[in-house]
Symmetry: C2
Subunit: 327 residues, 2 copies
């Protein structure tokens, strides 16, 4: 079976080629050659381009035949790339998409400033659409992303973090951009308010599902398929859903373990394996998986009201595919 | 004599009070309380609010009586604050406006992410004006700022840096926002193209003058009046105008000194004093000062075409005041 994102790539091949062109043109900088170097390292590293494809698909689904879904798709990819550059500095990551991160290859300063540049470029692209509503949606999404990241930062290492806070964090840092990506596709196509809302809800739920799966893979995947290191979240003492669920059910001895490894940060050989064993023991892995499936179902449900088409079916299959990595 | 920025403050008191209100409201975040903490630390540290006042003055000069100059002034201050937060991480600064920097009080991650948040918030404010041209101008300015910063980064520690490159850097990192700040004031007021251009040119030249003075003070000011440490640029091995001019005229022994301290970065006690002595010896300080005066004159020249008014006179005096710190 062909993966849904590959079918999406086929269906949107012409549009994606235009998006890639605009990305290549706009990441250039006459004055500062380091900008395209750093950007190209990340952009050409074979990201799945999932977010821009979602914008294109949403616009096409709503019958759009103008030129601006291309700008919006490139906008979404630039915002995503900018946040990745900043995230890798914040997380002190050394690996992304299977390659050394930009902060490792160049330095933190380059990652911060090139991220700022791409973010500005993304707004220039939006301005070119002449559509104030998409500017509004994407400016809001950008603020929500930053808010989610700051919230994540301030609750890191705090084992009192609840599932409610976890969902606030991932709605910000991941779902906001997925939701905006599909929503602006509907807006630029001048779709009905109900269809625009449906596209927003699809992206929102898909983003949540996507992030839960990502967090789950950090404790159960293999390094190669992730393109990053298994256990990174544990080492960075992040309170992701499987950890929160395991802590909820911890007995006093286990609580001591979590305090030492996550709160105090005193981690030793074998601690990651112990953490994974505790998650299995309390069914935290299984419950997290069920949450991912639930949100994937919600996303499929959301776009059911849109007219049936191959694109709509592929978007629904995409939701199934996201969770297939962990079921 | 009352300082021009204080007269500006008096003339724009009512508007600035509205700007401060909007800044306080928009820097709030329900989900991430660290955001207003970090922002307030910087915003309330007694910055001169020069840039937002320039937007207000430009709009008023052109007879504007709508509400959106307030949004634009707050936008400009948010963009400025975001770049300060990121700059202090890039420069590893510990002092700003006489206080410990946010990256020191919290951490680099908070400075990066809160900067991103403020940047997004600034775009939300622009969207509210409903004016696509101001969005275009400020998105371009933001991209140019980041470009200037990246260029500065890549030429740091390179003693082959020319005056031409120096001017490219400061046109980006400083003048672009000054120019955009005054320009959007004219745009929102629906001024004539010639007046909009004049306001742009005023801000551009004032920004260049301002930055030259700032770079000069780093080698001749006293720590207290700067709110940062004298010699910071030397320690960070930045190629600012006085250094570039001194290197242009260096004899072989002096070149060895510059290579060791700026390129290699092997700095010892007394090197800062030696650097300052070489700048004096070659007239680099004096020539840099003349450049600052020249750009201040250009800025005054630019707004001469606007109708005479107290506000216009104060803007002209501001240019004189900027350079008065070094003459």
């Amino acid at each position: 079976m062909i993966k849904p994102q590959d079918r999406l790539k086929d269906l949107l091949a012409e549009d994606m080629s235009a998006v890639n062109n605009i990305i290549a043109t706009r990441m250039a900088s006459e004055n500062a050659p380091r900008i395209p170097e750093v950007t190209a390292h990340l952009v050409e590293a074979g990201g799945k381009r999932l977010r821009p494809m979602m914008t294109l698909a949403a616009a096409r689904l709503c019958g759009y035949d103008g030129p601006y879904h291309i700008h919006l798709a490139a906008t979404v990819e630039f915002i995503h790339t900018a946040t990745l550059l900043h995230d890798d500095v914040v997380d002190e990551s050394d690996k992304r998409r299977g390659r050394a991160t930009a902060n490792l290859l160049w330095d933190n300063s380059s990652s911060i400033l090139v991220g700022d540049y791409l973010f500005s470029r993304s707004f220039q692209l939006m301005v070119e659409t002449g559509n104030l509503r998409v500017l509004d949606i994407l400016a809001n999404a950008s603020a929500t992303i930053a808010e989610g990241e700051v919230l994540q930062l301030t609750v890191a290492q705090n084992i009192a973090t609840t599932e409610e806070i976890y969902f606030k964090v991932i709605k910000g840092k991941t779902a906001a951009l997925f939701a905006a990506a599909t929503q602006v596709g509907g807006v630029i196509a001048n779709a009905s308010e109900a269809d625009i809302q449906a596209l927003h809800d699809y992206g929102d739920a898909l983003g949540i599902s996507f992030q839960i799966v990502d967090d789950l893979l950090d404790y159960s995947g293999v390094t190669k398929s992730l393109g990053k290191n298994v256990g990174d979240d544990f080492r960075e003492r992040k309170l992701t859903l499987p950890v929160i669920k395991a802590i909820e059910k911890a007995d006093p001895a286990e609580l001591t373990f979590w305090k030492r490894t996550i709160e105090v940060g005193d981690q030793q050989d074998g601690d990651l394996e112990q953490a994974m064993a505790l998650m299995e023991k309390h069914g935290a892995i299984e419950e997290t998986r069920e949450q991912a499936v639930l949100w994937a179902e919600k996303s499929k449900e959301a776009i059911r009201r849109l007219p049936q088409s191959e694109l709509r079916d592929v978007l629904a299959d995409l939701a199934d595919f996201v969770v297939s990595r962990v079921v």
